[in-house]
């Protein structure tokens, strides 16, 4: 059994279990208002964490690099235009340009 197979099967299984856990444990019933109130704030918390950990961190080190500027440019485009394509295009172009210099 090759290591690629073990890697893929392992990742597939853990991903399935993680995505299934919430719906299986808590599915199909109405939950109290406090729960729903917390859920409504989950997206800003998770997405902010995803942005900063990927734009400002490299492994366990905090650092500012070309991709930090690229993501900032992408964020600016998303904020001004609301376009997700424009956002990622600006991020890639700015990052690539800074690396080329």
């Amino acid at each position: 059994m090759s290591s690629s197979f073990v890697l893929i099967a392992g990742c597939a299984v853990v991903t399935f279990v993680i995505k299934a856990a919430g719906p299986v444990a808590l599915g199909g019933r109405d939950l109290p208002i406090a729960f729903r109130s917390v859920i409504m704030l989950l997206a800003p918390a998770l997405f902010a964490a995803l942005v900063v950990t990927q734009a400002l961190a490299d492994g366990d080190q905090l650092r500012i690099g070309p991709e930090t500027a690229g993501v900032a440019a992408g964020g600016l485009v998303a904020w001004r235009t609301g376009s997700i394509i424009g956002c990622v295009a600006a991020a890639a172009i700015v990052t690539a340009a800074l690396r080329a210099i």
């Binding site: 690629s4 197979f5 073990v6 890697l7 893929i8 392992g10 990742c11 597939a12 853990v14 991903t15 399935f16 993680i18 995505k19 299934a20 856990a21 919430g22 719906p23 599915g27 199909g28 939950l31 208002i33 406090a34 729903r36 109130s37 917390v38 859920i39 409504m40 704030l41 989950l42 997206a43 800003p44 918390a45 998770l46 997405f47 902010a48 964490a49 995803l50 942005v51 900063v52 734009a55 366990d60 991709e67 690229g70 993501v71 992408g74 964020g75 998303a78 904020w79 997700i84 394509i85 956002c87 990622v88 991020a91 890639a92 172009i93 700015v94 990052t95 690539a96 340009a97 690396r99």
Partner: protein, 257 residues
Amino acid sequence: MATRPSLVGVLEQTLPRHATAHPGLHRAALIAGVRAGVPFAVAGGLLAMSFGVVAQEAGLSQVAAIVMSAVVYAGSAQFAAIAILAQGGAVGAAVLAAALMNSRFLAMGIALAPSLPGRAWWRALQGQPTVDASWAMASNGDGSFDRAMLFGSSAIQYVAWVGGTALGALGGGIIGDPERFGLDAIYPAFFAGLLLKELRDGRSRGVAAAGALIALALVPFAPAGVPILAASAAALAGLTRRARADAQRAIEEAGGR
């Protein structure tokens, strides 16, 4: 609203549970989800191309890279696992990294749960299309979720994710180093775009700032992925009396119960 006798509708009827609380899956709603998912599919497809290239550099065959995208379908986890392999890490460590990176889907799945009807195995399957952009788009803003939007937008993103991986894996020699084109900046920029849509008021901005600070504070100490799950603690700001009152109002305005 009456459920049309479609295949999905029939399937729904055979799995009755809270049937009245969950509208059937209408074709039009699924198609609307596919449409809404297109921009994210384009961005995800570019990202998948760079995954196809990076995976081969880490030692996966072309077919293995494509199969991984097809059966795992979790971008950040796939990149995390591949990064461990590329550094010479063990397969077990790579799977663990993927699990930790995916841990945010635990929080998202808990959020989705009340909006997914049916028996346990059917709910487990309905949870599988959970990816960041689809989850965010499916949110009704009142704590409930539109699962047709979730399924539709994830379907088109899935096609782009697997297709992009195939392009990157088979044509990687032409693309060369994805970092040269700034493709690694696409992922965080994608999340920045998603985040901006969520910053509706002072409270959501405060929670975003707190989530970012929690994550950054943990980066030097915790394995990748854990800082992101920990940041979800910032959403506990929803437990305050004022937040609950606002949530109640949002639910009533959305016509919910």
